[in-house]
Symmetry: C2
DNA sequence: CGACCGATTGATTCATGTCAACAGCAGTGG
DNA sequence: CCACTGCTGTTGACATGAATCAATCGGTCG
């Protein structure tokens, strides 16, 4: 990990999200910058910029948690450190990560690509919090969003069929690109098959097989191993919906809400 | 739903949690009251107390989100409203729920038992936020905790074997009791088998079978259908650990952290 | 008592895990 | 330039464990 003084050619830490309490704030779920320029500048003053090489560890589970991170560029995975490599989340630019419990990181984090990030030490950050209610409010917004993301993850894992899980995963990446205003049409998949498996709860073999199946059914196309495009959008949506269709057994209806 | 003016025989909304940045703050993960008496009183001033009968809906997915809730007593489930009944979370006293996206609730919520809760309207709450940095900070702490909880949920769903999932679920309930200082020895299970299934990602039949299996193996004992005790603690831990043991195939080693 | 809901249990099916061989590709070093 | 090695991804054969369908049972409510 390299440490560099926060330079001024960037405005400072950047948090993208949507205010959960403002209706249709920018319409179709588009995220935007939550922080004002002055907030970003103030945060820049207490932070440093760090770089990680591909594959480098950002922190390990149980490490003393003295900072949180804000990604400028690259992709990070947050995973269970205890031998079990299940991945809890993929983190992208404008995301915040490094949550702790009782002062220690609960998960481990590793750079999947080369990563640049702001490192925000806890102590000065808490100082800022105490003086800046708006900043805290924005962090609350971001946390709500991460919570929603974690729920979506759990929702996907509740799905039984492998193709639905993979399709949900692709949709997640696609929506992420869309929310960031990136070019559509092609989905960039920065993580390898094994990491996908750890995230969606399938074996490496099953992930590979499922991709192959979707290609055979002409639902998706794979150029590069990391560039996927949805060919048959209707079939894609049908797969995603397919999850809700089943599990329509006896127990469901009439009881859920009365 | 009944609405009652917030009475003064209670101190006001109550949020339990642990400050994620204070090391071993009360040792073994014990949670405590995050709000001061004056904060609680101020929140009480802007909130009302609501009651829900068993089975009653608190809100539905897509409803205009104009308030969040803080449980005083009872258990609530938060579930996906779109026909698909998967449960995202069980909420207990001192929990906060009612998160929204663009001003609308994303999930539906239903009372599993009779429930009493504070209802905190968003508009005045945001007023209070603007004037009370400490309150916001406490909400951040709570959100971090809920995020962690959602991650644990996803972690459990990543598990393949039914007995591990059920054991994790029981452990979750047990730790919940412990964190609240409730009596140990017996686990109170306020939800029915079907709800458990929706939460842990198993069919109703599989939940039932798995409980039966654990009883047959003398790992747990079932008195009442909602009162379970762990008989063979060692075997119980072994089952929980069993998850991490597998998935040790080729792909894992040497790459996760270098 | 009949109807209904929650729960248990059995028989069968089928998707995914597991094991294993192998192919593509990159990096390394002679 | 070419073996050698290691990692990533693909594919096949087989076993397994949970979903599904369905019958049954106990409790509760009217």
């Amino acid at each position: 990990m390299d440490v560099i003084a926060a330079s001024f050619d960037r405005k400072g830490p950047s948090i993208w999200g949507a205010n959960p309490w403002v209706p249709g704030n920018s319409g179709h779920g588009l995220r935007h910058q939550l922080l004002s320029d002055t907030e970003r500048a103030r945060l820049a003053a207490i932070s440093s910029i760090v770089r990680f090489k591909k594959g480098e560890a950002v922190y390990r589970a149980g490490d003393r948690a003295d900072a949180i991170f804000n990604i400028i560029g690259g992709v990070v995975k947050s995973y269970c450190g205890n031998g079990d490599g299940r991945i809890m989340a993929f983190l992208f630019p404008h995301d915040l990560f490094g949550l702790s419990e009782e002062g220690a990181y609960v998960n481990a984090a590793q750079a999947l690509t080369a990563v640049t990030a702001y490192r925000l030490p806890i102590a000065p950050l808490r100082q800022r919090f105490a003086n800046d209610a708006l900043l805290e409010y924005h962090v609350i917004c971001k946390l709500c969003e991460e919570l929603r993301q974690a729920e979506r993850h759990a929702f996907m894992l509740g799905e039984r069929r492998a193709d639905v899980r993979i399709a949900s995963f692709l949709q997640m990446l696609e929506q992420l690109h869309a929310a960031n205003g990136d070019a559509a049409g092609e989905i960039y998949v920065p993580m390898n098959r094994s990491d996908i498996g750890e995230y969606v709860g399938l074996s490496l073999a099953a992930v590979s097989r499922t991709f192959a199946g979707l290609v055979r059914r002409k639902v998706i196309g794979i150029r590069d191993r990391r560039r996927i495009e949805v060919i048959d959008r209707a079939a894609f949506e049908r797969i995603l919906a397919g999850g809700g269709a089943r599990r329509s057994s006896r127990r469901r209806q009439g009881r859920q809400v009365r």
